[in-house]
């Protein structure tokens, strides 16, 4: 047998071929041209050897089955035609798996994504390990494309149109249990039975499953067009076709050809090839690599904190503590009295229930999170995060004491969003120990953490803080301790500008609509209501000390009337008891094109972005774009503010 670089073909005594994917010089299996070529040769070899009674495809890596296609290859295609041709080749290789006469099994442990799942779909059977790390899905739409190696055809054929469309249009991932439920995998077993289950299916001679009745019905083109318009409507509620063409293309393809047309695969390859060359895909791939860059910042550090101590059990402190416990760390959560900690414990329980589901895992996480009114965790923690109220004296007193009692190598961090580190650390004996670890609200949803460096912060301390951020699976963004850091600094003038527009008589819905049309996840007026107008005002006042930023009258008036936004039921908008925004009564429609509004607001945002770069708040444009995409949801398909500015 020939030696391959990325694959290993082994024979089991029972005439089952075991094909292990073990990509050279990589810790994770991804598929590129070389990998596919070798796979093709191997499949030819297996097909021509009648001794084989079955084939199992598995990963030889410690983590995961296959993460998908190598995204670094995405921008190496000459044009859409070449991309389509290469995709077609890939499809044909996977077709070889499907064409094998012997039973084929994908043995899945850990992630099985994109092209990896498309490979698994071309096998006759799939068995998956039951663990929490096993995740299956076709998240291609998140990169602005749709699956291109037969996934858009094989997945709906296997599990039915609606579950398949659901999975592909949303790009979300399934647990092993959920994959079993929808029929994506044939068996879910604990690791100890994984090989046994794979061997069992590789010895099955039964015919593959018949085509379901519902799929037969959907094969009628008139039925398809009705269903397709329903699907489009659903997707449009979440993303616009201009910004995110991929899911709509996916629906178009299906409407046109269904699942049984012989040209389905050809069509998939061609439209996917075209999608590669859309701005949306280019920018979403850019966003992906920006994310990789932030992740990579921690690579140098070996810092591996086990115990986190959080001081202040309010919304931020409590949620930070819960997130750390969820990430597997021991956490002590300190506040003055039990009564201040109890609500945070209840919120943590809700979070753990949602994320962990299994009662024994929830209990474990709860046990890791210890309420600590006495502050016993201070002397034992590897990272101490202060999240008390924004008061310089209080913070100074706290860090002075922490410095005395913490372990000498513990990280001392503040979650302040407004007080410069170099003001807090003046009272410290070792000011180089203080670093900012600035989380965003809601902690469980926001990926970004600003790692704030004061003038005196030691580089080793910053590195450790970055490593900590990665340990809890967040994206660290190193920023200079200047007022507002990066995200709030850029966001605030934009928000204030939008409120100033209100003062000018422009209706709130028009302003919000202008920005959601631009691609922001939420309009600025709604965002201000969600953040809380009191918080907006205090940040605005704080930033106003440093920059020229007049505070709009409306904001002052509403805060004065204690109408603080969503949390009080009324801000710029009104909210129902359940927190839903109540549509305001029809005001005079806005006559000018909405783009005049978004141009003006975005200009304000870009202006501030450029200032931040000039002042060195972050070191380069990519970090700024990353910060705005992951910290504010700045339209990712536009590649970040600076990228947008450049491409305008």
């Amino acid at each position: 047998m020939k030696h391959y670089h990325h694959w290993r073909l082994e024979n089991a005594p029972d005439a089952i071929a075991w094909l292990y994917f073990d990509k050279e010089h990589a810790t994770v299996n991804t598929m590129d041209a070389e990998v596919m070529e070798e796979l093709s040769l191997i499949l030819d070899f297996v097909a021509t050897h009648p001794d084989y009674k079955g084939l199992v495809i598995a990963s030889a890596k410690k983590q995961g089955f296959i993460a998908g296609a190598d995204i670094a290859q995405f921008d190496q295609f000459e044009d859409a035609t070449e991309a389509a041709r290469l995709l077609r080749q890939g499809q044909q290789i996977f077709q070889k798996i499907e064409n094998l006469k012997i039973p084929t099994v994908a043995m899945i442990k850990g992630f099985c994504l994109g092209g990896g799942l498309e490979l698994a779909l071309s096998c006759r059977y799939r068995v998956a390990e039951e663990g929490i790390k096993t995740r299956l899905g076709l998240p291609e739409v998140k990169l602005g494309i749709h699956p291109g190696w037969g996934g858009t055809v094989r997945l709906p054929r296997l599990i039915g149109l609606f579950p398949a469309m659901n999975l592909m249009l949303g790009g979300h991932l399934l647990s092993a249990k959920a994959a079993l439920k929808c029929g994506l995998v044939d068996a879910v077993v604990p690791e100890r039975h994984l090989v046994g289950a794979a061997t069992y299916y590789a010895s099955q001679t039964a015919a593959p499953r018949p085509f379901s009745k519902i799929n037969q019905l959907l094969n009628i083109s008139k039925v398809r067009s009705v269903v397709a318009s329903g699907l489009r409507k659903k997707v449009r509620a979440k993303a616009s076709p201009q910004h995110y063409p991929a899911p709509f293309q996916l629906i178009d393809n299906w409407e046109e050809l269904g699942l049984m047309d012989p040209t389905c695969f050809q069509q998939e390859a061609e439209t996917c090839g075209k999608l590669f060359f859309t701005d949306a895909s280019r920018n979403l791939v850019r966003a992906f690599f920006l994310q990789e860059r932030l992740k990579g910042l921690a690579k140098q550090s070996t810092f591996s904190p086990e115990h986190i101590h959080v001081i202040g059990a309010g919304t931020m402190g409590g949620d930070i503590a819960a997130w750390c416990a969820l990430s597997g760390m021991r956490v002590t959560l300190q506040d003055r009295e039990a009564k201040f900690i109890a609500p945070a414990i209840a919120r943590a329980f809700t979070l753990f229930k949602e994320k962990l589901k299994e009662p024994h895992l929830i209990q474990k996480a709860m046990d890791r999170l210890m309420p600590d009114p006495e502050g016993l965790g201070v002397s034992k923690a590897d990272v101490i995060i202060e999240a008390i109220f924004e008061n310089l004296d209080a913070k100074q007193a706290l860090f002075k004491s922490l410095e005395q009692h913490a372990k000498p190598n513990a990280i001392l961090a503040t979650n302040t969003s407004s007080i410069p580190l170099d003001e807090i650390n003046t009272v410290m004996e070792s000011p180089q120990r203080l670093v900012g670890i600035h989380f965003f609200n809601p902690v469980a949803k926001m990926l970004l953490i600003e790692i704030v460096e004061g003038e005196r912060t030691a580089g080793t301390v910053t590195d450790k803080a970055i490593a900590f951020a990665r340990k809890i699976d967040k994206l660290p963004l190193p920023v200079k301790s200047s007022p507002g850091f990066l995200v709030n600094r850029i966001l605030m003038p934009y928000l204030l500008e939008s409120v100033a527009m209100l003062d000018e008589g422009i209706p709130a819905e028009a302003i919000d609509k202008a920005m959601t049309d631009f691609g922001m996840p939420m309009g600025p007026i709604t965002l201000a209501d969600v953040v809380g107008l009191d918080i907006c005002l205090s940040v605005a006042e704080h930033l106003g000390k440093y920059f020229d930023a007049p505070i709009p009258d409306q904001l002052l008036r509403l805060v004065g009337e204690k109408k603080l936004g969503k949390k009080t039921g009324e801000g710029f908008y009104r909210y129902s008891k359940s927190g839903a925004q109540i549509k305001p009564k029809q005001s005079a429609p806005f006559q000018k094109p909405l783009s005049t509004l978004s141009d003006r607001l975005v200009a304000r945002l870009l202006e501030e972005s450029e200032k931040c770069l000039a002042e060195g708040v972050v070191t380069d444009t990519d970090l700024l774009d990353a910060g705005m995409i992951f910290g504010t949801g700045f339209a990712p398909f536009r590649g970040g503010p600076m990228h947008y500015l450049k491409s305008k």
Binding site: R330, A338, A342, F349, M366, M370, D372, L376, K380
Partner: protein, 434 residues
């Protein structure tokens, strides 16, 4: 004891607030309670939980999910897979048994650092199917044909649904067929303790717990939290408005109509955990641990199950005798308050010539001054989670000795089934271990 053995130190301890049963299962299970107390205790020390040699807990009614509850708790505390853990039962003295077991292993040199105590969620004691229901269900599942099944279903009787309360059965002595309250009636009868005396004692217990709480004498209590945002910082069974007049209105519960023992002068049914850290002098040195008290000896005795409340007398007399001590050497006493009648019965028995004579004393043991007995109240006011009480009274006695600069103390407890346990401890909080 004649064989030389190593000293055993109480380094520290923590307990949960004792939470009274309020008609439905409490917010926390027995292991939840033990984990929250143990977690807060271990957080005070720099050694990792994996440094413990073993974890021993007493518990009488762990839930179905808590087999060998000590191991469940040890793992949940993060002790790691290598720290062994075992659960002990000696009915109402299970917590004291855990401490005795830990102390023995330290004395023998088998262990140096042990987490020991007890936990109980009495409010979560299960309701069981009765025997008729169990055999009917078994018959149903054995029926193969539809006809057999229908026949079996037709045999069902509503009485099968009447449940057996594990808690009530557990508080009944199966050998003499008396409830614990009835054994207290026996003790009251024997030593002529009347209803008023019982009620007066109960009021005293409530008053003492309240005063001690006001003076912040229960420093061993750590707050506990449930998953719904509730938190508990203090024992919640104490009645500030308790009075002899009010207690007089309660009806006898165990011997209906003619009896004197009421819920008001009995211990409460309560959830709680009490956990202690015990150490050898080697461990004290190695981890630079503070010391609170020394466990000198623990003694167990058996007696008539129908008078189980007098157990403390039977255990304490030989305990002091073999340690060469008498009543005057003991500065503070804890006699667990299962029932007011039973505490008063013990006090009377200690003074009773014929009773002491039977225990091998030439003269009566003597009077135990109420000013030195249960000085901060007891189980009548704060409750008696059976697995935890034995550990609680030892821990609290250690704190009392430290506070009052006493030298020696005895913590003793009566045990359903007719036993007594008694622990002799010595205050060493003032200085280094010796």
């Amino acid at each position: 004891m004649t064989t030389p053995h190593r000293a055993v130190y109480i380094v520290d301890g923590a307990r949960t607030p004792f939470l009274k049963m309020r008609g439905q299962p409490g917010a926390l299970s027995a292991s939840d309670l033990a984990v929250q107390a143990g977690r807060a205790l271990l957080a005070r020390f720099s050694f990792p939980p994996s440094a413990l040699d073993e974890v021993i807990l007493g518990c009488m009614i762990p839930s179905a999910d808590e087999a060998n509850i000590a191991r469940v708790v040890a793992l949940r505390l993060g002790c790691g897979k290598t720290v062994p853990a075992w659960t002990v039962q000696r009915n109402c003295a299970s917590g004291m048994q855990a401490i005795d077991s830990a102390a023995r292993n330290i004395m023998l040199g088998k262990s140096d650092l042990v987490l020991a105590g007890g936990t109980e969620a009495m409010s979560r004691a299960p309701l069981l199917w009765n025997a008729s229901m169990v055999s009917w269900l078994a018959g149903l599942s054995a029926s193969k044909t539809v006809f057999q099944k229908l026949k079996k279903i037709a045999q069902f009787r509503p009485s099968y649904l009447s449940p057996v309360a594990a808690l009530l059965r557990g508080l009944t002595d199966p050998v003499v067929n008396l409830s614990m309250g009835q054994t207290a009636e026996n003790v009251a009868h024997r030593f002529h303790i009347n209803r008023t005396q019982m009620d007066e004692y109960a009021v005293l217990s409530h008053q003492r717990v309240m005063q001690a709480a006001e003076k912040k004498y229960f420093s061993e209590i750590v707050p506990v939290f449930d998953n719904k945002g509730n938190y508990f910082t203090a024992d919640d069974g104490v009645r500030p408005d308790s009075s002899v007049e009010k207690l007089a209105t309660l009806k006898p519960f165990f011997d209906k109509k003619w009896g004197n023992v009421t819920p008001g002068n009995s211990s409460q049914i309560t959830d709680g955990a009490a956990i202690l850290l015990l150490a050898s002098s080697d461990a004290v040195e190695e981890y630079r641990l503070p010391v609170l008290a020394k466990i000198t000896d623990i003694h167990w005795a058996g007696l008539n199950p129908a008078e189980m409340g007098l157990g403390p007398v039977h255990a304490t007399v030989p305990l002091l005798k073999k340690n060469g001590l008498d009543r005057h050497d003991i500065d503070y006493w804890e006699i667990n308050e299962a029932f007011a009648a039973q505490v008063l019965g013990c006090v009377a028995a200690f003074e009773d010539s014929p009773y002491c004579h039977e225990l091998g004393l030439a003269a009566p043991f003597g009077k135990i001054d109420l000013e030195r007995l249960n000085v901060d109240g007891g189980a009548i006011a704060m409750g008696h989670p059976v697995g935890a009480s034995g550990a609680r009274i030892i821990l609290h006695l250690a704190h009392v000795l430290k506070r009052e600069h006493g030298k020696r103390g005895v913590a003793t407890i009566c045990i359903g089934g007719g036993q007594g346990g008694s622990a002799l401890i010595e205050n060493v909080s003032g200085g280094a271990a010796s």
